[in-house]
Symmetry: C2
């Protein structure tokens, strides 16, 4: 399994000790990041918002088990110490080390543990599948599977790893994602491509509607492949981010099915995205998908509370995709064939397609069903 290690100039390593994992990635280059919009931010987010302004990074240190969020001034000092420890271990200027954390909120970092883990990993940085699996595994919390994605183009590639399973909601960042490319890009182009890609992918995944305090997506461009066409790069970056985003949705806490909602015919892309996200976030839609219950009225009810006017008489709604696509409503008229609709729900991937008949705006959003297992996982998290 190779994604970030497919990118020239990237080396990584990872270790997990019980709930406490640590990943190091060494990759020097132009860098950009997007962050959580939550007002209660982790200390590492506050640090990175400043640090990324220089547009250049040499390495990354990320820990799981402790979010270092709601930890005040001490938390900020701890985040800086974490960068210092990692920089020292790798022989890198600490101000060029990115820091990310995920785990329980309201607890302080265990710096002696982090120091021991950094020293252990610094000598083991490598550019191979095993090192990448160790790094991707180290940042997991309730994730059941690792998440890797690679978008290859003729002259360059974009690869990423990420983690995310709960506290996932439509908002900038939405999880930890570390993306690398060998393309050479100006910081402002990289930043603008990352913003657009995050908006169309990570920000359209909803597991539970809870926005994390720690979300961050960082992209570093090592430049080994030289200059590239910016439009082609944006498209490849979006492909890589979309793959990671869908992997997060499919691995949502307790999920048994991936839900994809495609909205078109909206007055704009933003409107389509808000409606798609509201549907995919609805607990009633999510439980109906889990129960394979073709209760499509819940899809319409969720669309209606997204805050945008549309004419129910113009709406067309399908369930399923390809040959198995079943129309439920056609320009406002109810066509529902419960038996066929139920079959379309008996898949691992359930697609709803909604045409509002108002304009040319379209967007997709991804989520997962809501199961008893989600409740079980989150009822006993800190213990």
């Amino acid at each position: 399994m190779k994604s970030i290690c497919a990118i020239e100039g990237v080396e990584c390593a990872g270790i997990r000790e019980g709930k406490y994992g640590l990943a190091l990635v060494r990759a020097a280059g132009t860098a950009a990041a997007v962050f959580t919009r939550n007002r209660v931010r982790a200390a590492c987010i506050d640090l990175m918002r400043e640090r990324i302004k220089k547009g250049f990074l040499e390495a990354l240190v990320a820990n799981s088990g402790c979010a270092n969020a709601f930890t005040g001034k001490r938390g900020l000092q701890d985040a800086e110490s974490m960068a210092m420890i990692a920089g020292d271990a790798m022989g890198i200027d600490p101000t060029r080390v990115a820091v990310a954390s995920t785990g329980v909120i309201g607890r302080y970092l265990n710096l002696p543990l982090i120091e021991r883990q950094c020293r252990f990993l610094a000598g083991r940085l490598a550019r191979d599948g095993q090192a990448e699996e160790a790094a991707a595994g180290a940042i997991m919390t309730t994730d059941l599977v690792q998440k890797h994605a690679l978008a290859r183009r003729e002259t360059f590639a974009v690869g990423g790893i990420c983690k995310g399973s709960g506290m996932i909601a439509p908002n900038m960042g939405t999880m930890l994602a570390f993306i690398y490319t060998d393309a050479s890009l100006r910081p402002e182009d990289l930043s603008s491509s990352l913003r657009t890609a995050a908006e169309r992918t990570f920000n359209r995944v909803v597991v539970d509607g809870d926005t994390s305090t720690n979300d961050i997506a960082i992209c570093t461009a090592t430049g080994h492949a030289g200059r590239v066409n910016p439009a082609e790069f944006s498209e490849a970056l979006e492909e890589c981010c979309r793959s990671l985003a869908i992997q997060i949705a499919a691995d949502g806490e307790g999920a048994t099915k991936l839900i994809e909602v495609r909205v078109r015919g909206a007055t704009g892309e933003g409107v389509a995205a808000e409606i798609a996200r509201t549907i995919v976030a609805s607990p009633l839609v999510k439980t109906a998908v889990y129960g394979e219950d073709p209760n499509w009225g819940r899809v319409m009810a969720a669309a209606g509370r997204a805050g945008h006017d549309f004419d129910p008489e113009r709406v067309t709604l399908w369930i399923g995709e390809g040959e198995a696509r079943v129309p439920l409503v056609e320009r406002g008229a109810i066509l529902a064939d419960p038996a066929r609709a139920k079959r379309a729900m008996q898949q691992n991937r359930v697609v709803f397609e909604l045409d509002l008949g108002e304009g040319g705006g379209e967007a997709s959003a991804w989520g997962c069903d809501l199961t008893e297992r989600y409740v079980e996982i989150n009822g006993r998290y800190t213990t």
Copy 2:
């Protein structure tokens, strides 16, 4: 059990046949209503938005089992027919009959059934506890218990019944509530009192964040008790609505615990209300309460994503109430005593109190825990 039947001038009756219930209430007087803000509205809501403008009602007919939502022009005709049938049965001008529906979306009303039920009930209207229980029972869907409330004052009283258990979110109305008072009030005063009371009570209950297509709260003032002090009336109406709202939260689908979130020290009441609602709606807070896991970081994370700036360093957070109240955070400093906090969560009613230290705004919101049973109930609803 008497609440609306404690009000002079109110008679009622109800019947339930499997999933299909019908309630009639006869009460002539000044009337006001508040409605769902969902863009996809039930036909009865569209009808009532027009009908309530006259500020006077003589009766109400409400059915459960079919929401008559997303049913287009035929749905609107059906809602009018339902009022006509009920008016005919009771010998009342049909334009003075309020109509409300709750149940599955995207299905047409069974008018022959409604006609049979109306004719049966019209001769059985009564002002006693048995009739009121039949009416309150008839409008239940996934509700496990009936909901009645009575606020008595020296010269008048306000009584109400309501239903609501799922598809409950912060938005105007939020369920079916039928409230009666013997106070005599001008339509505009009644309307303004109802709006304020609904904003502070029904709109602050969240079960699952899904806003119904059919929410309505109607208040009829029979006037038998004569003129009253408007401020005293508003206060009594709010008491009655608050009791109904808390009963909805406690009877949330699958709930084992009531959650109350009190926010103070905000820059305004609206800000406090939005933060309180965001906390009480958070699936992660809800599952932590279910698991009796004192994971208070989730409360802070939810507060942070409510969309209002505040300084985490000024925040104080308690769990529990009265003598069992435990401070978790004091002006930003973490005090958490997990054992004491856990005890505070082992109650049927779990209270979080958050002081933002910014101003004088305060508000409360109510919800319930998220359990495996919610998933079970909603995974198989239409079948």
